[in-house]
């Protein structure tokens, strides 16, 4: 008997599909051939495990679907993410004068020392860090290469504008709010391009050089608002060694690129507590790209990489996004933005390919111009 037929026979035997005569016959063969007997025992165990796997998988699926369905119907409401208001503000008003005096002294000393250091030290070797925004010539090159494309569809970049910088970004609110790095937006204006290649006008709402985060808003009639955003932003610190992945536009505006790695330190360059160190091959253009954990929660934003060590990059922690949003809420000019973040992630049980298929609709390539 050929192996494949033998296995088929065993499966029929185990599932009770055999007639009683056939069964007696087969049991006799089983008794006389220890090899076949072993195969039956092994396959029985395997099928048992497979059945247990199938059952658990099915229950998981029913449970997940029921949960999502009830949640969408508003059966439960997750607790609102309220960040504590910082006491610093009160202290600031109270000690304004003292601080001002102290600061001016401090400032004076600082300027003096830095002048001294500058004067005394040999010329610096340049920064050890490389910002991952796209250099202008790369953008230009891509533009030339795709020249025919750009001619067909009129670009939304104003005619006389000069492209200065670019990178990646992602949606945090269905109304069209996008987070990216501050250093991606070196110019005054910006356009974003979705993963299908649609250009959209955007305005820069906020830019924080220190945290290297910026907020854009799409303002374009061609923008189609998605119903919801499938990922939540993690408001806790992530664990060391956690598997992570990213999606960004390091090559050009049309090809989204996936990268996978792990969280290698809970602090960034020289112990910077605002960022993570991650192990991922990050190329220019990945700046502003989101970092997700395997559940599909957003845990950070890629910003820089170490110049000399391949594969080591740094990402701004997601907790900083909350700080930025809090700041915007407290500012008179921006408090009416009415930012609403997604509070739960619906990607946690999907496979990686399904996750990416969903996520890419919320990713944007960004260009900034003057």
């Amino acid at each position: 008997m050929e192996d494949i037929q033998l296995l088929e026979t065993i499966e029929r035997y185990l599932s009770g599909e055999m007639s009683s005569e056939e069964m007696i016959q087969f049991e006799l063969t089983r008794k006389n051939t220890s090899e076949i007997d072993q195969m039956v025992v092994e396959h029985k165990l395997f099928l048992h495990q497979m059945e247990a796997y199938a059952q658990r998988k099915n229950v998981q699926q029913t449970s997940q679907q029921t949960f999502n369905h009830l949640l969408a119907e508003g059966e439960w409401s997750p607790i609102e993410l309220e960040l504590p208001k910082y006491k610093v503000i009160q202290l600031w008003t109270k000690y304004k004068k003292t601080i001002a005096i102290a600061a001016s002294f401090g400032g004076f000393i600082a300027i003096f020392t830095s002048l001294l250091v500058m004067y005394l030290s040999p010329s610096l070797n340049g920064s050890q860090l490389l910002q991952l925004s796209k250099a202008v010539d790369v953008i230009k090159k891509n533009q030339q290469a795709q020249g025919h494309l750009l001619n067909e569809v009129k670009s939304k970049v104003p005619e006389n504008a000069k492209l200065i910088s670019g990178g990646s970004g992602f949606l945090i609110d269905t109304k069209g709010f996008i987070i990216t790095n501050a250093h991606v937006l070196k110019g005054d204006g910006a356009i974003v391009i979705d993963s299908k290649g649609q250009e959209l006008n955007a305005t820069i709402i906020y830019s924080d050089i220190n945290n290297d985060l910026a907020l854009l808003k799409i303002e374009d009639k061609d923008y189609i608002q998605p119903k919801s955003i499938p990922y939540s932003i993690r408001h806790k610190i992530s664990d060391l060694g956690e598997e992570i992945f990213t999606l960004g536009f390091p090559r050009n505006d049309y090809d989204i690129v996936y990268g996978k790695g792990y969280l290698s330190a809970q602090t960034g360059y020289e112990g910077d507590s605002n960022s993570y160190q991650i192990q991922i091959s990050a190329n220019p253009g990945y700046s502003g790209a989101p970092i997700f954990n395997s559940k599909g929660e957003l845990i950070g934003v890629i910003s820089t990489r170490q110049k000399l060590i391949e594969g080591v990059a740094f990402a701004v922690k997601s907790t900083k996004i909350f700080e930025v949003i809090n700041e915007l809420k407290n500012d008179k000019k921006t408090k009416n933005l009415n930012l609403k973040l997604s509070k739960y992630t619906s990607l946690n049980s999907a496979g990686r390919k399904a996750q990416l298929e969903q996520l890419k609709n919320y990713m944007f390539s960004i260009r900034s111009f003057n």
């Binding site: 494949i4 199938a54 029921t66 949960f67």
Partner: protein, 188 residues
């Protein structure tokens, strides 16, 4: 008496993976777990994960021939969730006692031991299936999980006939078994 009958009917529904029963269980008990997890250092997503695991544990318990539930479903689900959440807090090194809990709970150690064993076997099968790649993964899932026939699978995957599909399924199955048994130990 009536309440008891309802609970029995619910468990029977769950045993058959009936979505109405699952929905009723979510509607009646999830809010309690959400409250518990969110009050003990957890998020809404954590509550969802823990509750889903508890549903699976209950499902697997109901499947057993020796199944008897000696308490209310509510108490049982809460006890499992509490156990699972405590364990996760321990893993994260964030254990802070005592827990904020106002519900009654029972000991579920024995059940959980069994649950973990099954979970481990599930994880091995899951890894093995995922490392097979396509079309093997979907083909075997179609046959063994969704219980589709050979002809149906042939149509779905574009094989010219059922025999070719059978051949392909055999090759895939051999690979899967090899991967699975390389990891699986009967003893523990």
């Amino acid at each position: 008496m009536k309440a008891e009958l309802n609970e029995q009917a619910l468990l029977k529904g769950l045993a058959q993976n009936d979505s109405k029963a699952v929905e009723t269980l979510y509607k009646s008990h999830f809010a309690m777990i959400q409250h518990f997890v969110e009050n003990n250092n957890g998020s809404f997503d954590d509550a969802r994960d823990v509750f889903q695991e508890a549903m699976i544990a209950l499902y697997e318990k109901v499947q057993l021939d020796s199944f008897v539930l000696t308490c209310q479903i509510k108490t049982y689900l809460f006890s499992i969730c509490k156990h699972l959440w405590l364990k996760r807090l321990h893993q994260m090194g964030k254990y802070s006692s005592p827990l904020n809990a106002h519900e009654e709970s029972i000991s579920v150690e024995t059940d959980m031991g069994m649950f973990e064993k099954k979970e481990a076997a599930f994880a091995i099968m899951d890894r093995a299936l995922n490392s097979l790649g396509e079309p093997c993964k979907s083909l075997l899932e179609g046959y063994y999980i969704n219980k589709k026939g050979m002809q149906e699978l042939a149509n779905q995957f574009g094989y010219t006939n059922a025999d070719n599909t059978k051949n392909q399924k055999y090759k895939c199955l051999m690979r899967l078994k090899k991967l699975f048994f390389a990891q699986y130990n009967i003893g523990d």
